[in-house]
Amino acid sequence: MIASPWLLTLPVILPLAFGVLTLLFPSDWLARTGRHGAMLCAAAVVPCTRWVWQAGPLHQSPGGWTAPLGIDLYLDGMACLFLIFTAVMGLGISFYAAAYYPPSPDGTRTRNDLFWPLWFVTWGGIQSLFLSQDLFNIYVTLELISVSGVGLILIAGTPGAVRAALQYQMQALIAGLVYLLGVGLVYNAVGTLDLQLMSDQLQPGLMKNTGMALMTAGLLIKAALFPLHFWLPKAHADATAPVSAVLSGLVVTVAFVMLTRIWFAGLHQLAPFLLPKLLGILGSAGIVWGGVLALRQHRLKRVLAYSTVSQVGYLFLVFALTFHDAPGQGLVWTGAVYLTISHGLVKGAAFMAAGYLQKAEGTDQLAALKGCARRHPVAVMVLAVASINLMGLPPSTGFIGKWMMLKASFHTQQWGLAVVMLGGGLLSAAYLFRVFEQLLQPSGPPSGPSRGGEAVTPLTRSQSIWMLTPAMLLALATLLPVLYITLPDALLRIGAPLPFSDFIRPGGTP
């Protein structure tokens, strides 16, 4: 079977093309173009999935030159799974945003209309990143995603958003340059920029290791691992809700996924005891720090943003849990992937619900949202479903991921990490219950601008439906894993660098 030439590049080109189209189209076409474009871009992932399922991993080279001189794109099971994840999130966010941003009354363009080109370009960049196999290509796509992320934050227009965007851009630039310096050193040590060719060269070297250390440092900043997470909370909280969903749901995962790719390509040899332990310590600190700070926030979106910091800490525990070479390593990686995807889906849904509440009530201050569960039961339901996942309660995929990682920590006898994970679960329960305590009050002050929020235009019924349905669907997707739990597992095993767990076997033991 020969793969069509557009198989791997269509998921990248199509969103970029829609980015240009939504820049040029008149304002009243944008919502419809956004929805249809999202459906097309999501559909572009289907041929990739079929190929991987039937024929295994695939290499393609845009430009016609293969590595090492050219750039290779690589599609394996994990990349395919993340492409599907992006497609699902993209659909949800696009439909939500089409309802969230009100069309301007007289058809003139507003700042909100720039959401669509920036969002589609971000989508294209993310797809391109998941398929990427080339170190410098990773740099360019990371910068693309960051700069369009800055633009997305700026749509809010408030001085707080501008400040957050400035900090975000500075972080992205510096992290990117640190990463680039690392890439330069690695290239000069191994003579190639391709991850596969690099992993074939097993001998460690001083320049290569230094370069990889720098690359890791850059990616850790971009992944917002404690203590390099300072730029994240304001950026995610002060943006408009669809943007927060994009940033916390999608963008946060990309740096972590790239780090795992580089891990298998040679990073795991860098400092076999020091680096995983360091990542484990920083991850644990992130879990605790994010949780504690989330308890102190007064605004719903800030709570969710600090929750993201905490969940990112969980992801980094995977490095600490695999270095023992104990049996069951695959279990941990599967758990981490489950955790990444479920967090993305659920955080996106939570921000969508928070955005809905903010639009309906005029503010997202927790004190002002007292008792709004009566008025907006569906939105609070979405938040409740999201919380089940964030807390790691069964039967959510969040529980499955955390359980796999807990099991691995027992296998490798790292009791400290197990304690931190369980403690983190308790912390998330604490800050989420605090939120619900406000929302579920029997009665509250009447809504309206008298509460110090922005002026509220009541939401139309169709607007509410279009905003809440995607949110609910995304959140429920993580609650009904029994329907599809074997699919991600089977996908992950295609082309995987080490055997992932076989979840279908009874007991789930490797």
């Binding site: 030159w65 700069v147 320049m207 230094t210």
Partner: protein, 311 residues
């Protein structure tokens, strides 16, 4: 100890000292001037390591355009307001020591592993004939690794759009009308710009030059026009600006997709490679020139929210 080596040592040392001096200036205006001098000397150093394309680009973009952008921003925030007092010593000393350690470690690593070269020089030159151009850097950017260039033009578009979201209040900061020296300069230099930009694109196939340098020159022309007696680009309808911004990127995207029929995205058939590269170079030049000009206007605060103009 050849003369060249002595020159290199002096230049390298001066660069490091200049970097320190730039960051110790007291006012923003002074630091910008130092940065531009630093950029020009850096371009000189890149000539010494046989990177003329990069030297051109650094002089044009790194020193020229960046300097213009910094000055445009200072036009709003003030050239002469001195920087506030320094950060607390609890932060300053550990950071300085940490960075110095990092520098020492990296220097030692580089010196220790210096004699093990590895790289892609040979394959790059081996395929140069089929690449459609004689300039190896152009071949790398626009043929072997054209996909990266496509994404990078996307970065430019998105950065210009992000600046675009920040339309300021309608008043903006007024500019003094240009004096006779500036008007004379514009009269003489505008035709020169219009000649040099296409030449740069053309000569990039054979010698140092190409789309990036030409694009930087084009943005220089754009910035000068905005400062000139009739800043007509500012009076363009926003719709025109949007179309202009997307022009380069869409051209690149369409060309790239057209190649799907030849085997893959951006895979030029060998006989036609030179033509396609030229087409894409034109797209990149337009994109760089227009995007940087829009960003220059944004830094200066000239993207107004004028209700009479359609956005």
């Amino acid at each position: 100890m050849t003369t060249g080596l002595i020159f290199d040592i002096v230049l390298a040392f001066s660069l490091v000292v200049l970097a320190i001096i730039t960051l110790r200036q007291r006012t923003p205006g002074e630091s910008v001037v130092q940065l531009m001098i630093f950029g020009l000397l850096l371009a000189l150093s890149w000539l010494r390591v046989d990177a003329p394309d990069l030297a051109l680009t650094e002089a044009a973009i790194g020193s020229g355009v960046t300097g213009a952008l910094l000055l445009a921003a200072l036009h709003r925030t003030g050239f002469g307001t001195p920087f506030p007092s320094a950060v607390s010593p609890w932060i300053r000393y550990p950071v300085t020591i940490g960075c110095a350690l990092l520098g020492a470690v990296l220097s030692l690593v580089v010196m220790y592993t210096w004699d093990q070269p590895a790289g892609l020089t040979d394959p790059a030159y081996a395929h140069l004939e089929e690449s459609g151009t004689q300039n190896p850097v152009t071949a790398v950017i626009l043929n072997y690794r054209g996909y990266d260039t496509l994404l990078e033009i996307g970065v430019l578009l998105v950065a210009a759009l992000s600046v675009y979201t920040l339309s300021g209040p309608a008043s903006g900061t007024p500019v003094k009308p240009p004096g006779p020296i500036f008007r004379f300069y514009m009269r003489v230099m505008t035709p020169v710009f219009w000649l040099v930009v296409p030449y740069m694109v053309w000569v990039g196939g054979r010698a140092p030059g190409g789309a990036f340098q030409a694009g930087a020159l084009l943005s220089g022309l754009g910035a000068l026009t905005l400062l000139g007696p009739t800043p007509w680009p500012l009076r363009l309808k926003r719709r025109v600006v949007r179309w202009g911004l997307s022009l380069g990127f869409s051209l690149f995207l369409v060309t790239a997709a057209w190649m799907w029929q030849y085997g893959n995205l951006l895979a030029y058939p060998t006989e036609q490679a030179a033509t396609w590269i030229l087409l894409i170079e034109i797209a990149c030049t337009l994109s760089i020139g227009i995007s940087l000009t829009v960003m220059f206007a944004g830094c200066a605060g000239w993207l107004h929210e004028d209700p009479e103009r359609a956005v």
